[in-house]
Amino acid sequence: VSPPEAQTITETQSTRTRATQADAGSGAVPFRPGVLDLGTAGGPSLAGSRCPGCGAHFFPARHVCSGCLTEDLDLVPLSRTGTIYTFTVVRQSTPDFTAPYLLGYVDLPEGVRVLGLLVGLGEGKATIGMTVTLATQPKGTDADGCEIVGYCFRPAEPLGGDDG
């Protein structure tokens, strides 16, 4: 059990983190610190890191480049559009998620593969190589009443049919 002083410090840091990450307009907070930037121009973006030594990109952001061991990588917003590398329909999950849902790995142009929910796609309509774009989705509210926002991917082009 932490002493009372330590708890106070933790709460203060936590509050500050939320305050700096909250979207000024909506009061929304990312589902996890340092992953999703809601304030970038042109829409939300994933927060990755770029190695100033060799140019490699990573997501989530890392401190050290696994290719050349350069330290202190630059934080950069990643491209919003990528292609589906592979996918699955999860039909049995944990109590935290309601199955079925479509999950996929998306390759971004920076050479980063990101796992995410695929939305706006009817069952059987996901394909390897399909172009998808980053989107956000609500994931409930936190203790302060701020909306928690997660990320997902949806088709870059509207699909035919009535389930897009």
Binding site: R62, S66, Y85, T88, V90, Q92, G150
Partner: protein
Amino acid sequence: MAEVYVIGVGMTRFGKHPDQDSTQLGVTAIRAAIRDAGLDPRRIQAAYCGHVFQGMVTGQRILAQIGLAGLPLANVENACSSGATAIREAYLAIKAGEYDVVLAVGTEHMTTRFKGALTPDPGDIEAAVGLTMPAVYGMRAVRYLADHGVRWEQFAAIPVKNKKNAALNPFSQFQQPVTREAVLSSRPIADPLRLLDCAPVSDGAAAVILAGGQTARSLAGARGIRLAASALRTGEVPVAPGSMSFEPLTAATALDAYERAGIAPADVGFAEVHDCFTIAEALRVEGLGLFEPGSYPAAVERGRG
């Protein structure tokens, strides 16, 4: 350097054991291994305990129950490789010349810890996004089928083979053979994986006793089995994302083991392979160099798996 032999093995039946905890399961496995070795337990000099979800000092709890408290012991966690890593640590301790007789035990009580699919560690972002372990392998399967031009129905031969083997094994969880039709009509879990493509949630334990060459010959005579090599690697964080339908990590680790043992894949006559999901079995045996990439499903269909 010292040669290392397996001189005793023991295990519980795998399955649901609501009346026993991981300590009791571990005790059962170790006592069986000691009996199998015909060993005075006081000759055991050190122990390693592999587990993932059983909490602090699991190995110490087990040793206390069998009169071996006080031995040098380390608990090791390496996900699905925890038990194998415990054996490796025991092997290295003997090879280093520090000990002569070492115990390795793995124990897990999963049915009290999981409802539904296993997930990554809650601290991993993948878990927060909705990843389950079956989903990992479902996605690998989708990519494998596309990359190798394989039909998913071919994979049904894998659980048919494994359940046929399990029916002959008194320690296996499910001892009934299954048909191809039953596999392909079982409940969907993470497309294309169905229930019979997935490892069950199990409780169980297994133990081995290892000894240096001279001791092994005096204790076990010709019964000891030489442990020719142990190789361990961990996954990298790739700078560029790689193929998910072949496992370079498995291939590199296998190469380490083959080189140390002085054999080639063609020399392997029998393989017991981690098969948490049917697609995993294909990825592993192909990574091990026992089959060409993409060739395993067809080989199993022909009865050559």
